[in-house]
């Protein structure tokens, strides 16, 4: 796998895409802030956030019991619950269920959990046509790209890109009008919904007391996938299960307002068990796969807080790094602050520790997080863990040791200041440096760096003191 630096280099020239990411993230940043301001005025934002946090903490602290209760409830209704320790286990189980039913066509509603385990290629390899049905997911599936943002998978592509993709797929000329393109997707995907053997979903929440799987969709694809195919398979991260219906209230209120800034997502579908006696639609067979895939490594550690995440994307939308780069530069399913926190922990620290460079510790994410995950604190601690581990190069550690030694005494600190002024003198013009050494060259190519002042503040301070107290 390529490193973060290589991916950033690859993404930087894609100016149009990066501008689209910037526009979309800023837009959603403001819609969330508007909703939050309204809720603050009504005096209910902080109580709701505290309530949601308490609900999730309670469920995470008792994860085993809550998941066991969920399983018991689903099975009491005739559904099936499976556990997947790893991503590979989960993929194998889904493919097994699909092929057991002789499935030829699978329709999927938007699910980051199935993105995370790269389910689609495995199903295709087993000879099962697999179709994403969220419009954005359908577009990136046709483009052969991963989603660029957990809420807006295709927000980097223009109407012209979409028209071209549809033309190539369907072999007919396309209008570039978003409304017309959406109508085409409706027609094509409607046919898929009606003919699919299996529907695969993720889950925004699981409710243990009744064995309910909850999905939020604006388009209605989540409802189609859980209404029409004969078999339904839900892939749900183990951290998604909460205790009761009452616990779901703060999630229902906070998630849409923090994600897209809507008062409510158009369709919130709560599926409880398979189709019952006398019903005409809904899955006859229902499977829920509760997936670990590294999540349990966070349980019981300070990083458990990150498992409260309900994937609203608010931390992506406010992150100055994400806004510049977009999700593809991260090379992982989850980008932005939450992604760089959970990915090294869930998927291997050494391979993913370079994600931590995509953070300036500005703290905007912590402020934006509805679930009050102290994201930049966790990222800081992960950076500290990285620094303490053998991952950091010997040179880097030596450099920081020398720096720490130099600035731990007042005398040496003053001396380094003098040295810096002396060294900078030949390269100073109008108060700015004209040359940036080594790693600063790229940074300095587009920015001005002020030269050290001729006299330091400490020196001037001494003069000032003499003036004030002669």
């Amino acid at each position: 796998m390529s490193g973060m630096r290589d991916r950033v280099k690859a993404e930087m020239p894609k100016v149009g895409r990066r501008r689209a990411v910037g526009d979309a993230t800023r837009h959603h940043f403001h819609t969330r802030r508007k909703q939050w301001a309204k809720m603050t005025e009504e005096g209910r934002l902080q109580p709701l956030r505290d309530w949601a946090k308490a609900v999730k903490d309670q469920a995470l602290n008792n994860n085993q019991q809550v998941v066991a209760k969920f399983q018991q409830s689903v099975e009491a209704l005739g559904g099936h619950v499976h556990f997947a320790a790893t991503a590979a286990d989960c993929v194998r189980q889904v493919v097994e269920i699909a092929t057991q039913h002789g499935a030829k066509l699978v329709v999927k509603s938007k699910s980051m959990a199935t993105e995370e385990i790269h389910l689609n290629p495995a199903l295709e390899a087993a000879g099962v046509e697999t179709v994403e049905t969220d419009l954005g997911e359908y577009i990136v599936q046709l483009a052969g790209e991963p989603p660029i943002h957990i809420v807006g998978p295709a927000l980097h592509l223009t109407r012209y890109d979409v028209a071209e993709l549809f033309e190539k797929e369907l072999g007919e000329p396309m209008s570039t009008d978003p409304e017309a393109l959406t109508a085409v997707a409706r027609r094509v995907l409607r046919d898929k919904f009606l003919n699919a053997d299996v529907g695969i979903t993720g889950a925004n929440a699981g409710i243990a007391e009744t064995g309910t799987v909850v999905l939020f969709t604006n388009e209605g694809n989540g409802r189609m996938v859980t209404s029409l195919p004969r078999v339904m398979i839900t892939v749900m991260g183990m951290e998604k299960v909460i205790g009761t219906w009452a616990d779901f209230e703060p999630v229902l209120t906070l998630l849409p307002r923090s994600a897209t800034g809507q008062n409510m997502t158009v369709y919130v579908s709560a599926v409880t068990g398979p189709r019952r006696e006398g019903e005409l639609d809904g899955p006859e067979e229902l499977h829920v796969i509760v997936m670990d895939a590294g999540r349990s490594k966070l349980l019981g550690t300070e990083y458990q807080e990150a498992l409260r995440c309900f994937r609203c994307g608010a931390c992506l939308n406010c992150c100055p790094v994400f806004r510049q780069l977009g999700g593809h530069a991260y090379g992982t399913t989850y980008g932005g602050p939450i992604g760089i926190t959970i990915t090294p922990l869930m998927k291997g620290f050494v391979e993913h520790a370079d994600l931590l460079d995509a953070c300036s510790l500005c703290g905007a994410c912590t402020e934006a997080c509805a679930m009050q995950i102290p994201l930049h604190h966790l990222i800081r601690d992960l950076k500290a863990e990285r620094a303490a581990s053998a991952y950091t190069s010997g040179w880097e550690r030596l450099l920081f040791r020398v720096w720490s030694w130099a600035w731990s005494s007042a005398g040496r600190f003053r001396w380094t200041g003098k040295l810096a002024r002396l060294l900078a003198k030949p390269y100073t013009q109008d108060g700015y440096l004209t040359w940036h050494p080594g790693p600063l060259a790229a940074w300095g190519a587009e920015r001005d760096f002020p030269a050290p002042a001729a006299r330091s503040l400490r020196e001037r301070w001494a003069d000032l003191e003499r003036e004030v107290n002669p």
Partner: protein
């Protein structure tokens, strides 16, 4: 109650939901028939539900020359699906409504298929004023009671406006997979 209704209607209108009021069966029938005729709809799929019967909708719609197919439990699932896929509108009740967000809560069950409000291009929902709750807290009071009584249905759908997306260039487009139009008829009582 009237301020609650006003708030509900305001929330619905912001979502482009059309609202009609009906004091009794005659007005409900007129509202539904007019809505169907305006859209040149020749057939509907409907819940097999006491509320719709009480309003006399099946007979009134048929009298207007529009096919009314009720999703009775004895229907075969294949026939139901075919009817739903070709219907010009789906007519359902709603078990609760939430005033501040303009949300309808629909519970599935025998005679109440979950996709009747989803597959046709237009969804017409009837809701009684007494079923209106001010906010999420009001709805959850009902849902927690229902859960305690073991009454959570196989599918509970909260519907807030017509199907929509903004996945292409962030431009709002309605009617993606679900209905492009939602009509709510608010009934007295």
């Amino acid at each position: 109650m009237e301020t609650l209704v006003k708030q509900f209607v305001a929330a619905l209108e912001e979502l482009t939901v059309k609202v009609a009021f009906a004091a009794g069966p005659a007005e409900a029938q007129a509202a539904v028939v007019t809505a169907l005729q305006q859209r040149n709809i020749v057939g509907v799929i409907a819940w097999d539900d006491p509320l719709l019967d009480e309003m006399g909708l099946p007979a009134a719609v048929r009298q207007a020359g529009i096919a009314w197919i009720a999703a009775t439990p004895d229907m075969s699932p294949e026939v139901y699906r075919e009817a739903a896929a070709h219907a010009g509108a789906g007519v359902t009740g709603a078990d609760w409504a939430v005033a501040d967000t303009g949300t309808l809560a629909l519970m599935s069950g025998p005679g109440r298929p979950r996709s009747a409000s989803l597959v046709p291009p237009v969804h017409i929902a009837m809701v009684r004023k007494s079923r209106l709750r001010p906010n999420a807290a009001g709805l959850f009071k009902e849902l927690t009671a229902l859960s305690a009584a073991g009454g959570i249905p196989s599918a509970l759908n909260l519907v807030t406006g017509p199907s929509r997306t903004a996945d292409i260039e962030h431009i709002l487009v309605r009617k993606v997979h679900g209905p492009g139009e939602l009509i709510t008829i608010v009934l007295e009582g």
